[in-house]
Symmetry: C2
Subunit: 504 residues, 2 copies
């Protein structure tokens, strides 16, 4: 099923290759069940599905944390494979084993149980804008997360918070993120008001006239996904409450939701998820089901969705092509979808309380806030009781606005209440990496924009396949950027992108 | 997740309950992946899906055949649970363990590999009506099946063929089936011509006028499934090439296919699969995920689909209710769906070559033929080379017709070519059991037919829940019939049903 290890004499390494292949297959089964749960499962199946996913996770963990793995790793490390990609694969196996065995089983279970309990309480607390209702549960959960982070960090030689970041995006630390985010804060302080002022001076009518028929949106979404490069012989487009990309590299499952009052959300959702799907489909087949053949992390994944959605699909050339497509799809006059109108909808910048609704200029402020708060919580420097006030102070400092209640403040995102600490930075690291990759791609392939003006993603796609997708997890976050762009993360690319789009 | 074993002191038995629960959960995961494969998976996912299902099967087999299972079984059998249902559960665990360990792993793998290979060749052979093309592969496969049957039989104390029958329907043997099938052969010889003659004398026009819009068919199918008793909060209706019922008891997945030229195939398909689904949904929740809480076998399962499809849904009272529903669904005159017209379509009796298209009168002849041929093949009394001639002789003897080629003869069904020997009798045992159960149900609930005349399955459903579904696998085939109807399989009920419907 892949050609790793086939000519390696070291039996221990071959045994590991075979074990990790089985592990990956079980993870594929879980991924498909996860898609089913979100896209088609009737409510009656929920309890059984939870058991199925938990049992498969338990089987996979047992397979990964088995004593023979330590023996085989030790044996393989004495005589490592000659091929550098296989050496990296072996190192990633070691990392996976370390992570799986770093935290005692009872703590893993306690985190899973408390995460589920806290998330349930959070749903009610968010609805009622009642932080006090969930505070005790979040305190318990944070305590467990800090224990877990300390255990992971001790094993991996990282600080507790860095160990959590590493769970989602290997190859970058808080110390590297800090100055990048500080710099963006300064950029915002210097330019946000100007962006807003320019936008006010260029007011255009909104594109098109609702309703935008669901069937027309769906047909257009499929076409756009195909344009990006999804091949529906190995992919599906369905509906779910929250858009996502699931499935496996040969069976990509993207979802979106449709709003007849506004075509943009389904459209941009599908473009975003298509970027994720394209990455999965482009992972190196010869390394399939091995750690080195998987995606390089959540920030890299996000860079691939955002390079499609934000960099390419909201660019001037693409909007020029997109307008007539929208007009034809909805049977409305092409002039109603002129580039300035599309830009008025798709590039509107607005200080707002809700991260998931934020534009690309203010979005990083939401992430910077969460990054700082979660780092402080994990370090023990911020008590859960002080979170709402710290949140509001942070919003005031970063965007100059204060949410009217905690539902639009520290209760809005599921992450912390579901036990996900260390995930947030990936969103903005991904956005910045996308700008840096796009800059490098345009240098290497000057035909990218002309192609986008024809609705053609091929030049960009080819470059991404060769320089990002095809590497799998061979490189960590900054290493991959060095390989693809010649330097580690450099926030200047993202700033240059925003200057060109919003301040030119 | 179930209440088995919670107050049993025997630790060994409790460990087994917990292990079989995990096994059942893994089987649930496989069942959902199987549904996905047949109903929604894009072709690109096929290879990976095969790996996923094979890996989960391997995990489950490893869990079932582990040495600790033998130890726990032995310990639990020394001090068996006091409750008779739990004792039956323990016996079924022993049976599952015996079956899992009876056949050497290399033979299991060889059967799986040869089944896949033979099935692939069969597809081409059937298309080309070329038995010679698949003969060598079937010879190899039959050789392996005979080895497997011998090993299973030796372990279970059954003849090789009985051991295969027992794989699909425990609790009945070829020696018990033989006289039942012989008797039906005589019944056919005595009555088939009369049935055909009466039918010719009652010729009615076909119901309705095509096309029958797919959307209208689908909406009606959903309503009918709900009438049968499927609750779509825990079920779905989708499309697939061949109708089936998959999923799990709290997440039933039925499928059908639509033909705008003929509403009957989707409709009857959904009614049939709803019967299967109702059985799964009605299995005892308190025994969920234990061997004793599962379905009692394929023949019992088929009895539940056929009691809905053939006994209830093609009965006079139900057809009287169904006609106006069809007329309303398709916007056609009610008179066009009068009972005699519906009967002309839904109860047409016709000697034909193809089993899956056969009516309820001639269907058993197709099964009797296959039962006799496969018994002879497994016993070594019929060589694969002689199968086409034996098939044609059998068809001539049973139905007086001879297929013009092997595609409409011994190549028509996938079963043998996919390694399924011993499955066929279940179809007719199920049809006969359905008649016997319906007779007992009508005795116990004289309101069944009046309710069906209102499209109401409740009285029949309640009786089935109490007398069939709720027992799970507590009883074998004949034991269950004794429990529910007072006697083991008695072909007289099925004959009485046919006399009443076709000869009255």
């Amino acid at each position: 099923m892949n050609d790793l290890g086939t000519d390696i004499p070291a039996t221990a390494y071959r045994r590991l290759v075979s074990r990790f292949e089985r592990l990956a297959i079980i993870d594929e089964a879980s991924a498909m069940l996860g898609w089913d749960q979100a896209a088609v499962m009737p409510e009656g199946g929920a309890a059984a599905r939870g058991d199925q996913l938990a049992t498969l996770a338990g089987v996979a963990h047992g397979m990964l944390a088995a004593p023979e793995v330590e023996e085989d790793l030790a044996a393989a490390e004495i005589a490592p494979p000659a091929d550098p990609v296989e050496r990296r694969n072996l190192a990633l196996m070691r990392r996976a084993y370390r992570r799986a065995t770093a935290v005692p089983a009872d703590l893993v279970e306690a985190v899973a149980r408390e995460s589920a309990a806290c998330e349930t309480v959070w749903r009610g607390a968010r609805r009622d804008a009642d932080f006090a209702a969930v505070r005790p549960r979040l305190e318990v959960l944070l305590g467990l997360i800090r224990e877990q982070a300390a255990a992971l960090g001790a094993t991996l030689g990282l600080s507790p918070y860095d160990a959590l970041i590493d769970s989602y995006q290997p190859g970058i630390t808080a110390a590297e993120i800090d100055p990048v985010f500080d710099r963006y804060e300064a950029f915002l302080r210097d330019h946000l008001a100007t962006v807003e002022a320019r936008q006010a001076g260029r007011m255009a009518g909104l594109p098109g006239t609702p309703p935008f028929a669901e069937a027309a949106q769906e047909a257009l979404c499929r076409r756009l996904a195909e344009r990006v490069g999804l091949d529906f012989r190995g992919a599906r487009l369905d509906r779910s409450l929250h858009p996502f990309c699931g499935g496996t590299p040969t069976d990509i499952r993207i979802t979106t939701r449709y709003d007849e009052a506004d075509f943009a959300s389904a459209l941009m959702g599908v473009l975003h998820e298509s970027g994720h799907g394209l990455y999965e489909a482009g992972l190196p087949r010869a390394r399939a089901r091995q750690p080195v053949g998987a995606a390089a992390g959540m920030a890299v994944h996000e860079s691939q969705s955002l390079i499609v959605e934000l960099q390419a699909a909201r660019s001037d050339p693409f909007l020029r092509w997109l307008g007539p497509q929208l007009a034809a799809a909805f049977g409305q006059p092409p002039a109603d979808f002129a580039p300035d109108r599309l830009a008025a909808r798709l590039r509107r910048v607005e200080r707002s309380f809700i991260r998931v609704e934020a534009d690309e200029v203010t979005y990083p402020a939401h992430v910077i806030l969460r990054f700082r708060l979660e780092a402080a919580m994990v370090a023990g420097d911020l008590a859960v009781a002080d979170l709402p006030a710290a949140w509001n102070d942070g919003m005031r400092a970063l965007l100059g606005i204060v949410p009217p209640d905690d539902a639009r403040g520290c209760l809005q995102d599921i992450h912390w209440y579901a036990g996900l600490f260390g995930y947030f930075p990936s969103y903005t690291l991904g956005a910045m990496a996308a700008a840096q990759l796009m800059q490098a791609a345009r240098r290497a392939r000057p035909d990218i924009d002309a192609a986008l003006a024809e609705g053609d993603f091929a030049p960009l796609r080819d470059w991404l396949r060769a320089n990002v997708h095809g590497h799998g997890a061979r490189y960590g976050f900054n290493e991959l950027l060095v390989e693809a762009t010649g330097k580690p993360l450099d926030p200047a690319s993202f700033e240059a992108h925003l200057r060109a789009r919003y301040l030119a």
